[in-house]
Symmetry: C2
Subunit: 175 residues, 2 copies
């Protein structure tokens, strides 16, 4: 996985192949394929080796501040190598590799979503959130605008952008 990260940063993850990783690592490509059946699987393990517990939720008792801290940490990862370019390549691969998409959800997205919802439930019980807000959508609604910026407009996802999004989501669109 270290070889994957090194080579990905040198030649770009789009150009990376299992063959190239095997050659650089001085291993046979069958050795690599035995452990990682596809390029996507190798990218996903490399991604998970990076992020560890750095996206855990703080709980200072102030939900707005804690979401802000947590999402700032996420965009610091997303905005820089190796995590940012690696994650971009992984999402790209997942568009034509349903097994990879399922693994990404199971091993990365779902655990994050569970932590997010748990932190929000505590806040709701403390009266810090609208009791009518549908918490099961929290992950989509909080992270969707970041994905839109990262994958579609591809403008930088900054702390300032996160702060504006959080304010807009807490305000709500309705009267």
């Amino acid at each position: 996985m270290r070889t994957t990260l090194e080579l990905g940063q040198e030649i770009g993850y789009a150009k990376l192949s299992i063959e190239a990783v095997a050659a650089r690592a001085g291993a046979g490509k069958h050795t690599i394929y035995r452990r990682w059946p596809s390029k996507g699987a190798l990218l996903l393990d490399s991604l998970l080796s990076l992020h560890k517990s750095s996206l855990d939720y703080p709980d200072t008792g102030d939900i707005f501040a804690d979401l802000r801290t947590q999402i700032h940490a996420a965009v610091d990862l997303l905005g820089n190598p190796p995590f940012g370019p690696l994650y971009r390549a992984l999402v790209s691969e997942a568009q034509h590799d349903p097994q990879l998409a399922a693994a990404l959800n199971e091993r990365f997205i779902s655990p994050q979503a569970a932590m997010t919802v748990a932190r929000l439930e505590t806040a709701r019980d403390q009266g810090q959130l609208s009791p009518d807000f549908d918490l099961s959508l929290a992950m989509a609604i909080l992270s969707g605008p970041l994905y839109f910026q990262f994958l579609i407009t591809q403008e930088p996802v900054t702390h300032e952008y996160v702060d504006r999004v959080l304010r807009a989501l807490f305000t709500g669109m309705g009267k």
Copy 2:
């Protein structure tokens, strides 16, 4: 472009190449490259040939109902071939083709965003929206949760999902 759509549906857009399109169309590959310098450019023109004005905004005077109508139409496109698989392939390509990402924004995303903001401004002037909601983020906030479902969890983006997202966004997270 008709050849692109036919061939894309047969073999999948991920496997599609300019060479394959040229062969099927009975044209030289240089003829195709002269008009479309990359696979991404060909996919984008094919996408734009499909969507026409079907994503125009209705204005019945009820912003919630009109957003609902418009986003239902968008997810009907997204959930079915040829638009859905083609758009998925295009977003995938755009992750390693910055020129394509820029063209996608300029020719597809920005015009949609401008229409969305114009319709929302009318609604705000009529007192139908929170005056504190940041309209410049409207596109990211309205479409972000759809992109999250379409690109990341890859669960079906249904009318029911759209309705839940709209209700949550109008409610807002805050007290």
